[in-house]
């Protein structure tokens, strides 16, 4: 201290005029700036990582929402179809589709110098079923000619989207020289178009990428989320209310608290194992069913919602509770009429975030058998089902080239659902806050 005064340059010798004081000020400012900028840098890094992730998914996946169609003139040839519209083999429609393709390529109806199956391979295997269904729905079509836009096969789709290297030798190419010629001809004639693929949402899984969609996964996921919301929310809220408002503070409740906090940190795959052991093996829930999946996700989500609900209850000012008690409310009434309504938005936010986490969960579902190829949405909670993240997992492992972009597209769909749920949480919270 005496040093500072001795060094002080000011004639008055005031301590705040000394150099030491000024240098301390400068140090303080510098430290403040370092803290501020390191925080800023951290946020920039986080944003950059997030941006890279989103960019890579979107840039690779956006084409997954598109599908290539080819314009064909389809003649519902009576000779090929036969008379009875109800009972026509799909093979007949393959021939009809092939005839349309032949016409478009200017090939003679009778194959001479090419293999008809090479031609079949250009369009999606789903086309014949679509044509079959069209005739079943509308038998008058037989004998007529129609201009149709039908999906091409996944290989053609990839070629049209430029994702196939067409410059390599025939042996290493998925299209034969003949097929490549046809592809080029169709493209030059302007018969190939990209269209938005609604089937991504309305179709279920398929072995052919150009026909595969997420419908079964979306239904499965939301049935399970429904089960989680229906069971986890009320149980968690009741548990949180008891622990926060009524439970005596003793060793026993402390133990429960510690356990709940630990449960929230347990890896989800362990909940999957628990579900396998308890729900499938002991209670006999059907494998791969939304019931079993939902039950596992309920277990997994419970501690998360309990913790969120408790912190929501704890953030209610004690004066609300006191205010109700002062007016003669019983403890129970004070909780139900003042504390709980005030805490509800926070609880809902926590719940939706818990549900969002459950929506993205894959590992526990794989363990209870949800890794099979499921081509239809579940018809009940005991039916075999799949889920969006499981679908992503399956598609990511699929060998077909076309599933790569489908995987990215599915990830985008999942992210979209998560975004919607989180936005709902925010909107709910804001609305409740405004009303309060």
């Amino acid at each position: 201290m005496t040093d500072a005064t001795a060094q002080g340059s000011a004639p008055g010798g005031r301590r705040i005029d000394s150099d030491a004081f000024r240098s301390r000020l400068a140090t303080r400012r510098r430290k403040g700036a370092i803290l501020k900028y390191s925080g800023l840098i951290a946020i920039c890094i986080a944003l950059a990582i997030l941006g890279t992730l989103l960019f890579s998914i979107v840039s690779q996946g956006w084409q997954g929402f598109l599908r290539t169609n080819v314009e064909l003139e389809i003649t519902y040839n009576e000779e090929i179809i036969g008379g009875d519209a109800e009972d026509i083999p799909s093979g007949a429609f393959q021939e009809i589709a092939r005839n349309g393709l032949q016409k478009a390529l200017g090939l003679p109806p009778e194959a001479e110098d090419y293999d008809p199956s090479d031609l079949n391979a250009l369009i999606s295997s789903g086309v014949r079923y679509d044509l079959q269904q069209a005739v079943r729905d509308e038998p008058e079509l037989i004998g007529r000619t129609a201009q149709l836009s039908v999906p091409v096969s996944s290989t053609m789709d990839m070629a049209y989207k430029g994702k196939l290297n067409l410059d390599v030798d025939e042996g290493r190419r998925q299209l034969s020289n003949q097929q490549l010629e046809w592809f080029n001809q169709l493209q030059d004639d302007g018969r190939l178009h990209s269209e938005f693929y609604w089937g991504l949402f309305s179709n279920s899984d398929s072995r052919s990428p150009e026909l595969a969609g997420l419908w079964a996964g979306i239904v499965g996921s939301f049935v399970m989320i429904g089960i989680v919301a229906a069971f986890a929310f009320p149980i968690a809220v009741a548990a949180a209310v008891y622990l926060e408002e009524f439970a005596p503070k003793n060793r026993w409740t402390e133990l429960v608290e510690v356990n709940i906090n630990n449960l929230a940190a347990v890896p989800s795959i362990i909940f999957g194992l628990l579900g396998l052991a308890v729900f499938l093996n002991t209670l006999g829930f059907p494998r791969s069913s939304p019931l079993a999946g939902g039950a596992v996700l309920v277990l997994m989500t419970l501690p998360i919602i309990i913790i969120a609900a408790r912190s929501a209850l704890r953030s209610v000012p004690p004066s609300y509770r006191d205010g109700a008690l002062m007016l003669g409310a019983s403890r129970n009434q004070a909780v139900m009429k003042t504390v709980l309504p005030t805490a509800l938005p926070g609880m809902l936010t926590g719940t939706i975030i818990g549900l969002a986490q459950a929506l993205g969960e894959t590992a526990p579902l794989l363990l209870i058998g949800m890794q099979a190829f499921v081509a239809a949405p579940p018809e009940g909670i005991n039916d075999t089902a799949t889920a969006i993240p499981v679908q992503i997992y399956l598609w990511a492992n699929a060998p077909e080239r076309g599933f790569a972009e489908k995987t990215q597209a599915a990830i985008m769909v999942l992210l979209m659902f998560l975004l919607i749920m989180n936005a709902t949480a925010i909107i709910l919270r804001n609305r409740f806050q405004k009303r309060a």
């Binding site: 000012p317 006191d322 205010g323």
Partner: protein, 301 residues
Amino acid sequence: MTDTTTEMDGNVAELRNTVRDPKGQGDPKSYRISKDGETTRHEDAAWADKDLKMYTRDVHVHYGDNHAIKGVSVDVRPNEVLALMGPSGCGKSTFLRCLNRMNDPVPNARIDGTIALEGENIYDKDYDVVMVRLRIGMVAQAPNPFPKSIYENIAFGPRLHGLTDGKEELDEVVENSLRRAGLWEEVKDQLHQPGTNLSGGQQQRLCIARAIANEPEVILMDEPCSSLDPVSTNTIEELIMELKKSFTVVIVTHDMQQAERVSDRVAYFHLGDLVEVGPTNAVIRDAQDQRTKEYVSGHIG
């Protein structure tokens, strides 16, 4: 300390059964001073127990090992304003909260002694705590309206206890309560706006209106003006004077001027003891106990 006490005891003994005129202005009211235990009493008239609104006898409060209230006996007369005064931590708020059993939910709290409302012990096993709080309303230190509309805030109590039949009667109770709290003119056009949007003083009057809506007999106020500006404080003080026409009011305050302005009698607390009790003028102008003297002259608190 011991010396002071002895000296003081001597003083009190000397004064016992003497009649005093504290202001020395020929005040017609005179006081007899007596002392039992720690408490010096200025008695201005004999009150039979049956006429008392409330009385407490030898009340002790323990929070775990902390002996917060050490044997307090005090009377609350009908339609008076009794101020519980004292420095921070003297136990006045604790004592107030005992009067309507708001200390019940406090873990580790133990309350011994008798606290009676119209002669009945409210700590009796058969006495329902809801009845206690219905008959003895309370206003908290900081305004604590519920995060609901002004209307809902007032209607909370009557709805809870089923005090009204139908919406019209409830509307009437809401209007009446707001009028009596002097808030009606200010809020009548925004009854369905959140009560939390009001100013601090208005919020506190809303809380008073909320307490009135239950038609209690006694209203307890725990430093109701401590978070308010002087103008709002003035409004609340005038309101308290008005309220004592219909209710009995017990108010906690550390502000001696406030006690002088609003209260009929003062009970001065110090470290859990009731040190001195009597008519406001008597206690403040003619304090007998050294601790009260120091407080009223500004040396404590």
